[in-house]
């Protein structure tokens, strides 16, 4: 039982490498089952393309269960396709119908250069984390885990933010290509825990500086990021971040 079968037209961004000119190219994909995930539809497309001797469409993917943060497609103009709380790999074809035309593009942001087709370079995120997205503790010598009680409410708020998978959809959705939701989620995760307190102000300052240096834009509080975030990270983390940033500036 492969469910309802569809024939679709896929318009997809093809670009040979970082320096090359890219363009949208159209393909017809047949026998797409409604039970397929979006990436399985792309696999099917790639099998059909390769049968004709063409190179497959390159796209990032790995766990295919919505947690690794690797998959990254703008589908019909919306990062991850517009279903709340869902990554591209968890989007299923039953949301499309026979004869649909689907536009598939990479994340678009100056700080995320396209490497090939739908694959972009998100190493800027790693460089931001390296500037302070951690507690400076070495291995060994940690006190007993229960020595410092943490209110459940604070631990839950930290966990809400810590769920970020670093996919970059927030940047792709933002008209300014701002990375505020990503950066603020990390600050909120650590800021709600006593272990993160000693470095919190330096953390927000240094990560904000790196965010600017990488070429991400500013936040204009439109919350597009929250709407597309597959982990539904709330924009309250951005408010917390701005508060800490102001504190850090006063502190100098």
């Amino acid at each position: 039982m492969s469910g309802k079968l569809m024939k679709l037209t896929i318009h997809v961004w093809r670009q040979a490498n970082k320096g090359a000119e890219g363009a949208m190219k159209s393909y017809v994909v047949e026998n797409v089952s409604e039970h397929m995930s979006f990436l399985e539809m792309m696999d099917t497309l790639n099998e059909q393309i390769q049968a004709k001797g063409e190179e497959p469409v390159a796209f990032d993917h790995d766990c295919r269960e919505g947690i690794c943060g690797m998959c990254s497609m703008v589908i019909n103009g919306i990062p991850h396709g517009g279903h709340r709380g869902v990554t591209t790999c968890q989007l299923h074809m039953r949301h499309f119908k026979d004869g649909d035309e689907i536009y598939v593009e990479p994340w678009r942001a100056q700080a995320f250069p396209v490497l090939r087709d739908l694959v972009v370079d998100r190493s800027a995120f790693d460089r931001i984390i390296a500037k302070g997205g951690y507690v400076s503790v070495n291995t060994g010598g940690a006190p007993d885990a229960n020595a410092l009680p943490i209110p459940k409410k604070e631990a839950d708020l930290a966990m809400d933010a810590a769920q970020c998978i670093g996919c970059g959809a927030c940047v792709a959705a933002c008209k300014n290509a701002s990375a505020m939701l990503f950066v603020a989620a990390k600050a909120s995760h650590l800021g709600h825990l006593p272990q993160g307190q000693p470095e919190q102000l330096d953390r927000v300052k240094n990560m904000a500086m790196q965010m600017d240096a990488e070429g991400f834009g500013n936040c204009s509080n439109l919350s597009q990021c929250e709407a597309v975030c597959p982990k539904e990270i709330p924009v309250r983390v951005i408010a917390e971040f701005n508060r800490d940033l102001i504190k850090a500036q006063f502190k100098g």
Binding site: H35, C68, G85
Partner: protein, 636 residues
């Protein structure tokens, strides 16, 4: 092949403590003179790279993903075990070690397992200090839950995303060291070859997956933390990128591969929906606490589940295992599901599925309680299948999940190739023939944070190898080998895609070396795999060039290695003429349970590569149980 397990003398409680005291040290000022390569950045690799660099070693770390934070440890859901005994329910290091040895069906090395249990308590402390947001009680203390195969509550968790949170903790520790200049991180780099000089592992060859550049890296020691080989079955709960290449390339250079036939099948996964299926998704085992597993009594019954009256349903786990019921261990629940499907009583597309029904629990507890307990899992199920498990029973089927086998290592986590260290799922040492839930995360972090930082220093202090550079002929040769192999893939220009070969291999492996194995099937498989491999090298189509981001070329290398490794797995399954844990030989059955043959197989089987077309040689490391007496695992 020389296999010296290097287990320290003394009582099991004293081994690790005394061993640490006896290990030679390297002066802090001298540590910076040593370079260590770490391949893989999951829990084991990231924690090792961070911890080793904190000690002062120079680290080059590699991963094939676009960021170290993507490694597949991230997908672990349930939790991490530790013998903290915070619940006052009688847990102890010894009990955790015993549960792990017993769960592994007495096929693990008990000294390693005991050490694992010992350092488990430090892992939780370390992770909390890093800011891992574990679940907490209202009083602010850490929360625990129980997990399969244990009678105490020792599992720490962070919602259903424990692996993610632990990995992010390790990743952040790693990035801290990157910022300090102590770790050089190489993302989108795939290890293609291990380089051995004068019998010691001295470096690796990588391919830059963006521009295709093949590069050599020299070091004083190499650490592989490259995960398991579940994707030899094509369909598994592993990430698509998981592969055996790093381990297999090391095996071809002389590292022993231990117990490849030990694979774990997880009973609660979403069944395959069609031929296009690219991977299988795990649903947490916790669902079996409130769901009842059943199939129709009659074969070929295609009525919708609500049309099947109560007396025409077979709640087979409750019937066969009255005391454990729906909570029977993973391997047993998996085989029982296969059996009813083989009888033609499976449900859903292709008849490979069983119902996991929450109707009774919803009636008893109300929809709200069930939603509080499993809401996120139900949502995930609905996203994938389009069905609503509150009103229609879930369909589940077993899937390949974890591989207990791996490169052989001694007590110091060093393989038989001096200088090559292997951590986490990539090694073989701690889980025997079956792994208990919430123990994979524990092992990855134990190896990386608390074992390798001690043991690798002893190797470096005593190895006394001269410095080598990538100008050494062995590096030149390895680079040439990698280039030649890539050129070969691109030159075949056959008719079939790489993926089609991988799918076919997976199907062969699953049918004849999956949940149940027998001599006849394994012997057939040992004919079929070489035939498929031969066709691959003649008829595969790898388009594009080696000098660019080339997805098909990446896959070709991995599938070529799976085509060799799969044969070894089948051979190991054939030679291990007993059942134990996840390795179930139909000839060795005790009313549906695995029947061991301790008189002949109380050992790890370690395979030595003898060259293409040659039969690998089987060596053994006898397993000696001094602290824990082997018993029969019974769940009736």
């Amino acid at each position: 092949m020389k296999l010296n397990s290097a287990i320290p003398e003394g009582a099991i409680e004293d081994k690790w403590r005394k061993h640490k005291l006896a290990l030679p040290l390297i002066n802090p000022a001298n540590k910076r003179k040593y370079k260590i390569i770490v391949v893989g950045t999951g829990l084991a690799g990231a924690s090792a790279a961070a911890s080793l660099s904190e000690l002062g070693y120079q680290i080059d770390a590699f991963c094939f993903q676009d960021s170290p934070r993507r490694a597949h440890s991230i997908a672990a859901q349930g939790g991490i075990n530790a013998a903290k005994n915070y619940q006052n329910d009688g847990d102890s290091i010894r009990r955790l070690a015993y549960d792990t040895v017993k769960g592994g069906d007495f096929r693990a090395r008990e000294a390693n397992v005991y050490r694992l249990a010992e350092v488990s308590v430090n892992i939780i402390d370390q992770c909390v200090a890093q800011g891992v947001p574990f679940a907490r009680e209202y009083g602010g203390h850490l929360s625990n839950r129980s997990f399969g195969g244990a009678q105490v509550s020792r599992t720490f968790y962070a919602r259903g995303q424990t692996g993610q949170q632990l990995l992010i903790g390790a990743y952040q520790a790693l990035e801290k060291q990157v910022n300090a200049g102590a770790v050089k991180m190489h993302t989108r780099h795939e290890m293609m070859e291990l380089v051995v000089v004068d019998g010691h592992a001295r470096g690796i060859i990588t391919r830059d997956m963006v521009n295709g550049k093949v590069e050599a890296w020299a070091a004083d020691a190499v650490v592989l933390a490259t995960g398991g080989y579940g994707n030899v079955f094509y369909l598994s709960t592993n990430a698509k990128g998981c592969n055996v290449t790093a381990n297999w390339r090391a095996a071809r250079k002389g590292a022993g591969f231990a117990n490849p036939c030990y694979t774990q099948i997880h009973p609660t996964c979403i069944p395959q929906a069609g031929d296009y299926q690219s991977k299988l998704t795990l649903m947490s085992e916790s669902l079996r606490n409130d769901g009842r597993v059943w199939v129709p009594k009659k074969a070929g019954d295609t009525r919708s589940p609500d049309q099947v009256p109560e007396d025409e349903r077979d709640y087979y786990l409750e019937r066969k295992y009255p005391s454990f019921g729906n909570l029977a261990p993973r391997d047993i629940a998996s085989r029982a599901a296969k059996q009813v499907c083989d009888e033609g009583r499976g449900v859903g597309p292709g008849g490979r599925g069983v119902f996991l029904d929450f109707a009774d629990s919803i009636k008893r507890l109300g929809k709200k309680v069930i939603s509080e307990r499993y809401g996120n899992l139900f949502d995930m199920y609905t996203t994938i299948t389009g069905e609503d498990p509150y009103s229609v029973p879930m369909r589940i089927y077993p899937a390949v999940h974890y591989t207990m086998g791996g490169l052989w290592v001694d007590y110091n986590l060093m393989s038989n190739l001096p200088g090559l260290h292997v951590l986490g799922e990539a090694n073989f040492s701690d889980h025997g023939a079956n792994r208990l839930g919430a123990s994979a995360l524990m092992q990855g972090l134990a190896d990386g944070y608390f074992v390798i930082p001690y043991t690798i220093g002893a190797y470096l202090a005593t190895a006394k190898q001269p410095k080598v550079t990538t100008d050494h002929p062995e590096f030149k040769k390895a680079v040439a080998d990698v280039n030649a192999r890539q050129a070969k893939f691109l030159s075949i220009k056959g008719k079939r895609t790489v993926d089609s070969f991988h799918r076919q291999l997976g199907q062969l492996m699953w049918n004849k070396c999956g949940m149940a194995r027998n001599e006849k099937g394994l012997k057939e498989l040992l004919q079929e795999i070489p035939a498929l491999r031969e066709e691959f090298w003649r008829n595969v189509n790898v388009p594009g060039s080696a000098e660019s981001l080339n997805v098909a070329l990446e896959q070709a290398g991995r599938v070529a290695d799976f085509l060799e490794f799969g044969e070894l797995l089948a051979l190991d399954a054939l030679e291990r003429n007993e059942s134990c844990g996840g390795h179930y030989r139909e000839e060795w059955d005790d009313e549906g349970e695995a029947k061991r043959d301790d008189s002949k197989f109380m050992h790890a089987a370690v395979w030595e590569w003898k060259g293409e077309g040659q039969k690998p040689e089987r060596h053994v490391e006898p397993l000696v149980f001094e602290a824990f007496k082997p018993s029969v695992r019974s769940y009736k």
